[in-house]
Structure formats: C-alpha cells, structure tokens
C-alpha cells in the first residue's frame, strides 16, 4: 500500500481498504475537506453562544 496522505489518514483511523479503492476514497476525503473549509471560511462565531446539545430542529409545535 503506498504511503500517501489518504493511507495515513485511514491507518490513523484504524481502517483498511484495497489499493484500487484509494483514489475514490481520496476524492471523498477531499470533498469533505472542501465542505469543512467552506464552513470555516464563512463562520465568524466570536463570542456568540450556541447550544449544540439540543438539536436545532423544533421538538414542539411552533406557536
């Protein structure tokens, strides 16, 4: 198995896949990285509070 970035990330996570799947795996990892970058670029949270423990969807009927 080549010692590429994706192989290192898989190894770090304790995962293994066949060599022929590495390219597609890299594509997926790259798309997730891009999604994370997009959010990091658009978020300026500062001291704004947030409640990540409660799901943001309404659990009660809105008045």
């Amino acid at each position: 198995m080549p010692d590429t970035d994706i192989v290192q990330r898989l190894r770090q996570a304790g995962l293994r896949i066949a060599d022929e799947e590495l390219t597609r795996m890299e594509d997926l990892a790259r798309s997730h990285d891009a999604a994370a970058l997009r959010l990091r670029a658009s978020l300026k949270f500062g001291d704004e509070p947030s409640n990540v423990f409660r799901l943001p969807m309404p659990q009660e009927r809105r008045s």
Binding site: R9, I17, E21, M25, H32, A34, A36, P56, M57, P58
Partner: protein, 474 residues
C-alpha cells in the same frame, strides 16, 4: 378487473374495500401476481412475503366482512424499505453484513401500519444501509427505474420508488437522511414526503444519521401519502427525537384549495446554485402559473446558497453515520459494498471541530429559514436538477454545482418537504417539484402537492414499460 387493481390509488382502493367492491384478498393476489410477473425486471423487492401477505389479507377480509373496517389502510398492500425492522423476518439493510439480522420486534411505524390493517407484501431494495449508492457488488441487485430499466431509481429508497411507480405495491415506506425519499420519488415519478423531524418514529429503523434521519411514505399520489401519514404520525417515547405533538388532519386538508396561499420560490437554488435542466425549470414555471391562477401569491425568496446546506449536511451526516458503523468498518470492511464502505469510512476524516461548527451553522440555517417563512407559507423549488440517469453511475459524485438533487436543505433544517411529479420530459421521463413548509405543517405541503397533481394531470400517466412487459408475458 384484476388488470386494473394495481393502478388504483390507496384512496380509490380503500373506498372500494369499505364498500366491499373489492376484497383485500383479491387486491393482495393481484399485487403478488404482478410482482411475480414483473419484478425480475426492476428488482424492487429483495424479499416477497407471499404466504404472510395472503394470511394478513384473509384476516383483513374477515374483519371487514364482520363490520370491523379499521380505516383507509385496511387491506391495502404496501412494501417496506429493508431497513425497517420486522419481527421474525430478516432486515438486511441490503447488505451482506446484516444478511442474517432477524429482529425480535417490529419498528414502531411497522406496528402502526399493521394495526391499521395494511398488508405487508415484503422488503424492498435500498442503497446499502441507506447510503451506499447503486451497487452491483451486494447480495441483491439494485432496483431499476420502471420508466426505463436502463436508468437508475436514485436512492436510497430505491426499491420503494420503483415498486410504487411500477404498481407492485400501493404505498411504501422510505427513509430520508439527505433526500432518500424525495430523490427516488422524483426519478420514479411518484410522490414522497420527508416529514417534519420528529413527527414519525424512527424506533426500529436501521439508523444512519441520528439528527437527520426521517421515516416517511412514498405513494403514487400526495393524497395517498396523506392517508399513510394519518396512521404514521404518532409520538413514540422510545424515539428520543420524537415530537409530542397532536397529528394534523392530513387528509382533511386535501382539496381545500390554495386561494391566498403565499408561495416563496427559492429561485437561486436552480438559477444560480445548481445547474438545472431547462425542462425542469419550465415545468416548475408552469406549476407556479397554476398556483397563481388559483389565487396563490408568488414571490422569490433568498436562503443561504444550496452549497452551504450541502456542506453542513454532509459533515454532520457522515460523522454520525461513521459513529454508527465504526465497529463494523474496522472489523468487517469486506462485508460492505465498495460504495457503502467508502462513503461510511469517509466520516472518519471529519474533525470534531468541523462537526461541532456544522451543528452551530445548522442552528443559524434553521433560524434564517424560520425568518423567511414568516412571509410565505410554502417554498417551491425542483426536487431533481434533471431526469433519471443511467443505472450504476455515482449520482452523488460531481462538483457542488452539479449535485443531482435539491433535498438536503430540509434534512438540515427539519421542516417537511414533499416531492411530486409535475410533468414529463420530451423523452417521457418524470420531472419533479418540491414543496417545503414550516415544521409540523406537513398537511399543508401535501395539500399543495395534491392540488398540483390534480391540476397538472400527471397522475394519469404510468410507466409504459411495465405494461409492455406485462402484455408480453400474457
């Protein structure tokens, strides 16, 4: 008579059953016969429960004959996506990993359908664990699109979409984490609703993403979805995400008109954010004309770019899915298909900070949407950017501007969204429209969907190929 039973809607069939013009046994026999004749072409079922279905039909028939009609699902043949637990019957997730998984209990929604007298014809194909994509390396083949069997159904509720469209069951249960009800509903030309988060129990459904999983019905018409929702919407203390709210009168809202309805069009979704087929846009504009002509007011609204919903949704759903599957991915990765294995493993690469910030961003998107929906009652935009694509292509791959569906926004924000068929392409394939609403106003989006289906007349056109195959087989 038998030749026509599979083209009845649930509304029509239930009326005939209650008037004793057709019996549950006749109906079930007709569907089982049609499955035997046609399903080899579209692979929508991975398990047909012939004996059990007939036994259930005989019980329903006896109950109705004794004057104990339970309601509009009594004696109606349905199918279940094979992630819904069924007591004593394998629930595989369409995966070798769960090939021998036999639950002891029914999912709550399965129990509700059973108590309402619905007949379970069998377990339906799905993308592996509701995420894997159209895969050719699983124990069962992928479902094919009945409008053209060379084409994909989309997923993950692939068998549900194919079976309903082909007339192999009258309604089906699907699940929707990133569009898995609405995508196959769109490409298969049927109606499918992702209800408000928490309105339907997910207890006993194989989980994928705890904060974005939704159960929901898929039927030929929006009215039939309303009939199923009336049975399915119930608080379940065994699902921590279940909302303790009274169920709306879904069916009572049907047919009450759209005069005065305020419709917001999320035009930037399909004009700027995602490249959309002109035929899809033309059908949407025609639908807006119909609504306008019936007294609705139409205005454009602006939400966050669709790509933001996509980024938030993918980071959250992949992280949560990895949390569900991590153990098996490490110990038995070879038991997954290639698509499922890769998509699930990719969740390992999402950093904790990115997951948390995606959740924070999600709260903002919920607030933004609630603000927009102060001025409009429903939102309208396409379900799919185009018609069904060739079988086996990775429909979820590609750049953000060419993502195939406009679905994720409402998994992220939790409100109801129904997909209906609003026309057909020059090639004769279904086009689709999505109507989304405020949380717990599922009855409203179904009402608008029903109104458009009737005004546009799209429900009179069935897949031709399935009939051609049936004729050839006679």
């Amino acid at each position: 008579m038998d030749q026509d039973l599979h083209h009845l809607t649930i509304a029509q069939a239930s009326r005939m059953i209650s008037e004793r013009k057709v019996s549950p046994v006749e109906l079930t026999q007709a569907f089982l016969g049609r499955i035997a004749m046609l399903d080899g072409q579209i692979n929508s079922f991975i398990l047909v429960l012939e004996e059990q279905a007939m036994a259930e039909a005989r019980v329903a028939e006896a109950e109705i004959a004794a004057g104990h009609w339970k309601g509009p699902l009594h004696g109606i043949p349905i199918g279940l996506k094979d992630i819904y637990n069924t007591a004593g019957i394998a629930t595989t997730g369409h995966s070798a990993l769960f090939r021998d998984h036999v639950p002891a209990e029914d999912a709550t929604t399965v129990r509700l359908l059973r108590e309402a007298g619905a007949i379970n014809l069998g377990k339906l194909a799905t993308w592996e664990f509701a995420i894997g994509g159209t895969s050719l390396d699983l124990p069962w083949p992928p479902a094919r699109n009945p409008w053209n069997t060379a084409l994909d159904t989309s997923g993950s509720s692939s068998g549900s979409g194919a079976a309903v469209a082909a007339g192999l069951c009258m309604g089906a249960m699907g699940s929707d984490t990133g569009g898995s009800i609405r995508g196959p509903a769109a490409w298969c030309g049927i109606a499918g609703i992702k209800p408000t988060y928490g309105l339907l129990s997910r207890r006993g459904i194989l989980p994928l993403s705890f904060s974005m999983d939704h159960a929901g019905p898929m039927c030929w018409t929006a009215e039939d979805c309303a009939i199923m929702m009336q049975v399915l919407a119930a608080h379940d203390h065994l699902d921590p995400g279940s909302a303790d709210v009274p169920a709306p009168d879904f069916r009572g809202a049907i047919g009450t008109g759209v005069q005065g309805l305020r419709v917001g069009v999320v035009r930037h979704f399909f004009e700027k954010d995602i490249e959309t087929d002109p035929e899809v846009v033309a059908a949407l504009e025609a639908s807006l004309d119909v609504l306008r002509g019936a007294g609705a007011t139409i205005s454009d609204v602006t939400l966050a770019p669709f790509g933001v919903y996509g980024a938030v949704g993918s980071l959250i759903s992949r992280s949560e899915a990895y949390a569900v599957h991590e153990h098996w991915l490490k110990t038995s990765p070879e038991k997954y298909g290639a698509y499922g294995r890769r998509r699930l493993m990719a969740g390992a690469f999402v950093e904790a900070a990115d997951y948390v910030n995606a959740m924070r961003h999600r709260a903002r998107l919920v607030a933004e949407l609630a603000e927009v929906m102060r001025d409009v009652d429903v939102l309208v935009f396409p379900t799919a950017r185009g018609t069904a694509e060739p079988l086996g292509e990775d429909s979820m791959a590609g750049p953000p501007t060419r993502q195939p569906f406009f679905n994720r926004a409402f998994n992220v924000t939790g409100g109801p969204a129904v997909s209906i068929c609003d026309g057909f392409s020059r090639a004769g394939l279904p086009l689709s429209l999505q109507i989304a609403g405020r949380p717990f106003e599922d009855h409203l989006v179904l009402k608008v969907g029903d109104f458009l289906e009737r005004e546009l007349g799209t429900r009179a056109t069935r897949p031709v190929l399935s009939d051609a195959i049936a004729a050839a087989a006679e």
